[in-house]
Structures are given as structure tokens and as C-alpha cells.
Assembly symmetry: D2
Homo-oligomer: 184 residues x 4
């Protein structure tokens, strides 16, 4: 069976973002059945329905790429107890125009990442609420709340430690089965 | 007593946005104790902590205006069962850099607006969750969920009808007392 | 293929409960692939871990019945913008003791019901948040928010009207496919 | 000024409950302006509107006590990513019958407690959503998420350590000011 193509959306734009580093680890660790690719969201103009008559190129490009994907993974920090505006904007852009959402029926998953202690729980579950409406078929378990994320990377080299790799591998194995279930 | 200055943030960029029309009605209906002004959020670059070393002019301007305000009102549509990325981005921009949030201790309120039937409930309460962290002192009652919003405006003239004015007036009267309580 | 057995949990104890009437309609309308049965929750003692050494008979009975089911449907009103304590208690009882949850991997769905105008949205999504942890595989679409529920029943005879039947039939057809997907 | 009377509701019935131990610590640590008392909720029959014609004695007693209080503190564990059914039932009982809620306009606060690592975030914020409807004036900051709660108590003696006392004292000092603001 051919590998399924999974879009990875990263909810932080910082160059040294832990979220992006987690995403990169996942790309390397992905099992045979999954091919992960980060789809950039930092250049998407803020959603404005008036622009749909002649949509910004960045919107069109984003939507076109997403349409080719078999599933989606969100790697998100928490901003103010919720999803970053950046990531929510990408979700909004992908959902429109009415009737042409790129999200519909895709299997999905979320990993929330924080230097703090509460697992970015608020972002994780607010994102899930949007996915109900968008009919993204979210994997429930294992949930993935990565607290104290800096401890998972070597301070000098930036290398992910074995514990993080194990957590991500377990998540990806479950996600591969989840994707498979919805594409068979 | 001098009127309190209230920032109004509108969560939609459509030129003909119902949210903006509700905001404009509120500006006209504001009681003596409140002076409302829309603060624009459509030009705020997506939040990226790396930019804080030399923040975009639009961020600085937004933060400076918000700092002069005595309270904040959010008029928001619901995008995909949550706050629009646009509005969440403005909330995020105002919350940073760390220790310099513009939101802290401001009294606040939210009105959610939708052409649909569910009052944009998801946006209303997700926004409230962010306000807990930001220490915006949210008015609890009256809640304001404006469903079927197009029915409140005359289709030909665009004028708000008396029922909408009554709802907004009642909300504003309660909000004026709420703001007063937190500034005495 | 044999029909799948679905537990129906009703979040209201009123004898004339609209939620129960919706549940009864669904039992009648269920397609060939589904067999629905209400599992009563009104006699479950409030959850207290200390009682697990000698669990109340009502807990044991509830857990035993749930274990025989292939899926679960929640029909819930909204109490104070969330799930009724009654229904949440049943969810809690079914989730314990640790490692013996009756919910794990069951496909699930939720219909929220209200005489008001906001579709019991708050109950619907708070319940979904619990289901993430419990690994109940929730159907995302169609969402089902039944506002103004009294209008769907004939005031004199109490009979459900055709519009309600159509909504429930559509929901059940989608749910039958959803259950099938997770049991194949 | 006379001390304000604060009801403390504890969301766990276990005899050795950490939540109850936190509540007891708070009673001892309360500043001069606050007098805390636990109001028991374990004997409240599950809410059923049909019983309002002749309400259970436990409901009446609970409602009568709450009416004498000047504010309310919730100490809650998280059950299945939300408020325990036990505590939600107490909230529901206090909210009825229609028009006679015991909660209206009371200042309130919440501390969420867990042996795990995510601060019982889900319970904390689901409870806050109910408080919007009930017009309980919730303190926003400091938020209080007590993760890894067992580490705050001496394993042998059960005594709270200084770090916990400091956290609770800081919370109570802020709460005393918050209560005062809403009663002046």
C-alpha cells in the first residue's frame, strides 16, 4: 500500500520554534505508511470574504496543496489559552469558500506543545472543536500534550531525546492506523 | 464623571459585515458614561515573537491605542465554531511581549453575531477562555448571542430595527455599570 | 450483517422530557443496521471512588449493559451551558475503575436538545471534550443541535412531525455508516 | 468590616480527597476578610425538574445555605476532561427553579486539583463556562491549577507544605479583594 500524504501545520512562526522542531522530528520518525510534509501558513493573508472574488495567491496555493493530502496533523502552541491566531487563520482560509473546504473527511490529529506545565490543553481542545464543524476525523487517543518541551531537546545540540522520540513514535503508529481506517 | 473610553474590536473584515454594523449601532447608542471607538485589526501582521526586536508599526500602533482605553468590547462572528483567526491574532498581538499585555485588568464584554441559528456560541466562549488568562474582567450577564442577524436590519436601507437597538441598549447599560465598578 | 447494538443515554429525568421523546423517535426510526436501547442513568449513585471496593449494584448493572453495546448515542439538554450533572455522572461511573472503562473505542454520537435558541451547543461540545479522553470515536458530521424542540412535536398528540423525523433519519443513516466503519 | 461568608464546594467525595485537603487548608489560611465553610454536596439527589413540586430536603437545605453566602469557591478535580458529575449536579440544583438561582451575582473562584500533570484545566474552564450563564462573577487571575498535588503534602503526616500554603494564601488574598469589590 502506498504511503498516505499528511499535511503538517505548525502553529508558531519563531525560527527556533519548539513546535517546528517537534514537526521535523515527526517527519523523520514517520512510519512507512505515512509521508509527512510541513505546509507553511505564515504568508496567508487574514481571512476576508470580500477577497474571494480574486483570492490571494497564497490562499490558492495553500488550498491546492491541502487538497492533495490524505490527512492532517496540527502541531500547536497555546496562545492565551487557545489556538494561535496564525493557525486559526489557516484553518479558516482552508475552510472557505462555502462548500469548498479542504478539510472535509480528512483524518486528523493534534499535538500541543508548551514550555509550561499545562500541556497547551486549551489550544488542543479549542482546535478539536473547530474540527467537529469541518468534519476532520480526529484521532482521540493517544492524546498528546507536550509540557516542559525544552527538556526534551539537548540544550547544546538541539537534538531530541529518546523519550520524545518514543512519545512521537507511539503517536505516529496510532495515527497511521487511524488514517488507514478512514481510507480503506 | 468623565466617560470611559472603550475599544471595540470587530472580528470580520467584510465591507458589509454585520458585525461592523452592530458595532456602529453600539457607538451611536452608547450611554453617557461610555465612549466607544472601533480599533482596526485587519492590518496586524500575524504574530511572530521573532519580530519583537523591531515590532511592526501596526503592532505598536494597536498596542498604543489599546493602552489608552478603559475597557474593551468584542463583536465577533464564529468561524468554524471558534474565534476568527483575525480576531485571535489581534488578541495575541496585544498580549505580548511578555509582561506588557495591553489587556490586563480591563473590563470587557463580548457580543457574538451570526446569520445562523446558534448565536456564534462557540466563538463567544472560546474568546472568554482567552480572557481568563489575560485578566480581562468579563461581564457575565447579559450574555449576547445575536442569531439570524440579517433579520435585525432593514433589507433596503440597512437600518437597524428597534428590537436590535433595545438589545444593544440593554447590553450597553449593563456594561456601563460593569466598567464603572472596576474603575471606582 | 447483524445489527449493531447502540446504548442511548438521555440527559434528562423529567417524565415528559423532550430528550426522551427524541430518543424514542430514534429507536423507531433506526435503520436496519442499528438497534437502539435506552440505558437508564437516573439511579446511579454519585461517583465516589471509595465505593469501588464494593460498587453499588446500579453501577455494576450500568457497566455490564454498556459493555455489551457496540456504540453509544447521547441525547442531552443543556444545563447551565454544559452537560447536566446527571449525564456527566453516568459518564464518570462508566469510566471507572481505572483501566476498566466501558467507553473505550466505542463509536459515538451526540444530539443536543433545547426549548431555547442556541442548540444546547455548550452541552454538545463539553460532552465531546470528555469523549476525547474516553476514546469514544465521535461522529463529527452531521452535527445535531435541536433548537426550539417543542415546535417539532404536535402540542395535542405529542407526535413528532415530519421535519424532525427527517433530521433524525439523516443523522441515524450517517451514524450507521460511522458505526460500521469502526467495526469492520 | 465584617468578614464575608464564602461557600466552598468540593468536587470529590473520597474520604482522603486531595481536593478536600486543599479546601481545609484554605479554611485555615483565609485572611481576616473571608470566612470559608464547606457546603456538602454528596447527598443531593440528581436534578429532576419533576421533583420541584416537593423538592428533596437536601436540595432545600443546600439552596438555603447558599443563599446566606457572599461568595463561592469551587475546588475541583477533573473527571474525564471536565467537571465531575457530582459537582455539576450541585451547580444545577442551585440554579433552579427558574428565577430562583442561588448563584446570581455572587463573586466566585475556582481551584482545580489533580495528581496528574495538566492542572485539571478541562474542569477549570468548563466550570467557568457554566458561571457565565449563572452570573457568578469569576475572578480571572490568579488562575489556580494544582498539578501533581500529592507532592504538596507530606506523605507521612499529610501536612501541606509551605509552597502550597503560599499559593493558596496568594489566591485567597486576591479573592478577598475581588469579593470586596463586588460587595462595596
Amino acid at each position: 500500500m502506498e504511503a498516505k500524504n499528511i499535511a503538517v501545520l505548525v502553529g508558531s512562526l519563531r525560527a527556533a520554534s519548539f513546535n517546528r522542531r517537534v514537526a521535523n522530528e515527526m517527519i523523520e520518525l514517520a512510519p512507512a505508511g505515512l509521508k509527512l510534509e510541513i505546509v507553511e501558513i505564515g504568508d496567508l493573508p487574514l481571512y476576508n470574504e470580500d477577497l474571494e472574488q480574486d483570492p490571494p495567491a497564497a490562499w490558492k496555493c495553500f488550498r491546492d496543496i491541502l487538497r492533495t493530502k490524505d490527512g492532517v496533523l496540527f502541531i500547536t502552541p497555546e496562545y492565551n489559552r487557545s489556538v494561535p491566531g496564525l493557525l486559526k487563520n489557516a484553518i479558516d482560509v482552508g475552510s472557505r469558500p462555502y462548500g469548498q473546504s479542504v478539510w472535509n473527511e480528512k483524518p486528523g490529529g493534534v499535538i500541543s506543545v508548551t514550555p509550561g506545565g499545562l500541556g497547551a490543553f486549551g489550544a488542543n481542545h479549542h482546535l478539536r472543536q473547530s474540527m467537529v464543524f469541518l468534519n476532520v476525523l480526529m484521532m482521540q487517543q493517544p492524546e498528546a500534550y507536550l509540557s516542559n518541551i525544552s527538556a526534551y531537546f539537548d540544550a547544546a545540540t538541539g537534538t531530541a531525546n529518546d523519550k520524545l522520540k518514543e512519545v512521537l513514535r507511539r503517536f505516529l503508529d496510532a495515527f497511521a492506523l487511524w488514517v488507514q481506517r478512514h481510507h480503506s
